[in-house]
Amino acid sequence: MSVDSTPDQTTGDGSNTEALPRRKRATLVDHSIRYGFLGLLLGLIVFFSIFASGFAGPRSAVFIFQSVAITGILALGVTCTLVVGGFDLSIGSVATSSMMLAAYMMVIFEQSAFVTIVACLAMGAFIGLINGLLIVKTRVPDLLATLGMMFLLVGLQRIPTEGRSIATGMTLPDGSTAEGTFSPFFLAMGRHRIDLVLEDLIPVSVIFLIVIGILVWIFLEMTRHGRLMYAIGSNERAASLTGTNVNNYKIMAYMISGTLASVGGMLLAARLGRGDIASGTNLLLDAVAAALIGFAVLGAAKPNAFGTAMGALFVGILLQGLTMMNAPYYTQDFIKGFVLVIALVFTFSLSARKAGSH
């Protein structure tokens, strides 16, 4: 399996186009690769603004951000593991576990928001640590280790309540009633809106997304840690022979991923106001989709935080626009897949042509 998409240069398909207009064509191709995807995004926005009534406008924009906030945060985590050449299939279940834990802490243990948040973050980081140790110490392949972790967590998160959702007033397995409530401060993470120009415009979860997105972007692009993580993803052995502590960085990547997933889970809990066992099933696939779409943004052809954020937005805009146009849910899936495939074909075939035709 290769997430690595650097086009293979040896199997060039040898396009024998004449050399003269090359310079001009090359820059055109360059531009298409770099801005093609963003162009598509813009095109979608324009299209929906014209044809979907109510799509254009600040509230709708905020709504799109909000609808992708949780998947976006998870996708940023998975991006970090993709950067070191790994993959984290457990993020969805870490998020739902974190949601259940948050609910459990507040509703059953009647803890404060602060304790709850610390517990959730610690759990996410701890699961990431276990994933990382499994992968670097016992050398279980990443997909396999995190798949096992996924199954494990999906079961584990349901054991304390015997599979029931957690809500104030629920009956516990021992027959008593849970009296705790979600702390208002905790709920605000998912529900409070901040005034900006318009009243109650920006939800806190969107701020989380934007801040985390910027932090991950800075971390990956501008710090030496991020640079070394990319080096590990490209050639682990070479990176280790430059003195990089490959194991530590890999473990760190999984811990980032786990921690961000737990943040996502807390936002989910705050939005739902309960620990719901049926929620969050699509988080994994949507987050992976966003992170992978990110490959196509700005012609990066590798995992990157900006691309991931754009990937998440892309999916959000598409679904929002289609909903506004009253498209049934199944056509939304179809169109999502179709546009995704077309966008990818466009980007990757162009960059393959650029890299391969000589």
Partner: protein
């Protein structure tokens, strides 16, 4: 001897802005070894890739045995009888398959082979092919991933030889072989030559070229700059044609011994190898040479924290030195540029500058942030110092020629001061002039550190060493001061008792 096997006429090739081959024309007669010489980045491998169907040419024509030849894929080239051993060894073997499948994979790729694998026959044929290359001591069922780089190279060569090619192209086939293996390759080349195969041989090693070339073609900046043939080949002229100027002689003045920097005391690299001691002094350049598997790499690994020696102690500046990881070693000022750059050094996704700065990122910029400008400046300095052929410091590393990639890997470690600099096969694929440049650069910067260079090729040792240590059976067996040196004595020390050495080397691998 006179029949023409392949005629290359007015070939053009450009990568974007970069015109690599300009109206290049070359004839390759049958039954002849044509050695192609050229500086790093001259376009040799590009020519090879055009001949072998990897790249498409922009213009010009090729005739093979009188018929037009324009392979669109590697398999078309192979079917037409043009068989290539590529410069990058990892392009020649499939690590997860066993040796037998690797040797026979071309046959497996042929439709005529049939549907099912005939295992017994496959193994038997593989053994036969392996034996021809002198690989009979390898079990053909071993996965290639368990073999070292030299064996991999031999396997790639053996496979190509087994093909009964019309034109055989060898792109730096000996870059990771020592004299003994190389000699077996030369013997095979002579056999093929006698069968009328045209051979295009690319190498930076003058000793190889002297040994087997029937004619020498020099190449400069994508054009043929001289063809030298006849009974007495003008090697000097060929080098001059390739470089555009005369080669200067290297002249080594051994500096007075400085303070000892690294000391190895009664070190045993393996449980069953003898103990040895070795001191590396300040300003001193010590070259360790020896056969394949003689333990050179094991020594480097012990010093660089990749493995701990079986017994004995190592000191650095008088203090005990037992690094647990390369990171540890780097922090103590011990740097190593590993051999086999493709798997051990090159970070394919990075551009040239980023490849160079990986080990010392913390020194570029404040806190954890990288100062891009500073990084670029360092890279440009190194590009100038090592005369790396490239468009800019933002070139993808994969677009550089092999030798220039090697220079980048060296530049990576020369950019910062160290206490001990270990260079494992630093000249792999580097052209003669660059070798001299690098040698000079190493000698210039050798102050305030000890330098340990591991090479299999003696010529290279003589060019750079103050002192030459010969390794045998994972221990220092002999030592020479590089002054009025007796080449034969060194050779004898290296070879030891030849029959024995080979067996031992397999065991070590």
């Amino acid at each position: 001897m006179s029949t023409l096997s392949c005629r290359i006429s007015a070939i053009d090739k450009a990568f974007g802005e970069n015109r690599v081959l300009c109206k290049l024309s070359l004839d390759l007669p049958a039954g002849t070894v044509t050695a192609l010489m050229g500086a790093n980045g001259a376009g040799k491998s590009t020519l090879v890739k055009i001949l072998s169907g990897v790249h498409a040419r922009d213009g010009g024509s090729i005739e093979l045995l009188g018929a037009p030849f324009a392979p669109a894929t590697p398999s078309q080239a192979i079917r037409a009888g043009v068989v290539t051993v590529h410069q990058n060894i990892n392009d020649g073997v499939i690590p997860d398959l066993d040796v037998a499948s690797n040797l026979m994979i071309d046959q497996l790729a042929e439709r005529q082979y049939g549907f099912m694998i005939k295992r017994a026959r496959l193994l038997a044929e593989a053994r036969r092919v392996a034996a021809r290359m002198g690989l009979d001591d390898i079990d053909v069922r071993t996965p290639v991933s368990e073999l070292g780089v030299a064996d991999r190279q031999l396997i790639a060569i053996a496979r190509a030889m087994a093909h009964e090619p019309k034109l055989l192209i060898l792109d730096e086939p000996t870059s990771s072989l020592s004299a003994a293996e190389a000699e077996r390759l030369f013997a095979l080349i002579e056999t093929l030559k006698a069968h009328g195969v045209a051979i295009l041989y690319i190498s930076h090693r003058m000793s190889d070229i002297r040994r087997i070339a029937d004619r020498v073609v020099s190449m400069r900046d994508g054009e043929i700059s001289g063809v030298f043939e006849g009974p007495e080949i003008d090697y000097e002229g060929a080098v001059q044609a390739m470089l555009g100027h005369r080669m200067t002689e290297v002249d080594i003045t051994i500096p007075p011994a400085g303070q000892p920097v690294v000391g190895l005391r009664d070190v045993r690299l393996k449980a069953d190898s003898p103990a040895f001691s070795l001191d590396l002094g300040d300003k001193e350049i010590v070259v360790v040479t020896g056969l394949l598997g003689s333990g050179k790499t094991a020594l480097a690994q012990a010093l660089f924290g990749m493995a701990s020696p079986y017994a004995g102690t190592i000191t650095l500046d008088g203090k005990p030195f037992a690094p647990k990881s390369p990171g540890d070693a780097v922090r103590r000022g011990v740097f190593m540029s590993p051999k086999d750059r493709a798997s051990n050094a090159v970070i394919q996704d990075f551009d040239l500058a980023r490849n160079m700065t990986v080990p010392f990122l913390s020194r570029y910029g404040r806190l954890a942030f990288i100062d891009r400008r500073k990084e670029r400046r360092t890279a440009q300095d190194m590009i100038d110092a090592l005369s790396i052929v490239c468009q800019s410091e933002a070139d993808g590393i994969g677009t550089l020629s092999g030798g220039n990639q090697q220079k980048v890997m060296l530049g990576r470690w020369l950019a910062q001061p160290s206490r001990l600099l270990i260079l494992d096969e630093p000249f792999q694929g580097v052209d003669i002039r660059a070798r001299r440049d690098i040698g000079r650069k190493i000698r210039e910067t050798a102050r305030d550190r000890a330098t340990l260079v591991l090479v299999a090729e003696l010529d290279e040792a003589f060019e750079i060493a103050d002192r030459i240590v010969v390794f045998h059976d994972h221990a220092a067996a002999a030592e020479f001061r590089n002054e009025n040196i007796d080449v034969n004595a060194v050779l004898a020390a290296v070879t030891g008792s030849p029959a024995d050495a080979r067996g031992k080397s397999r065991q070590a691998a």
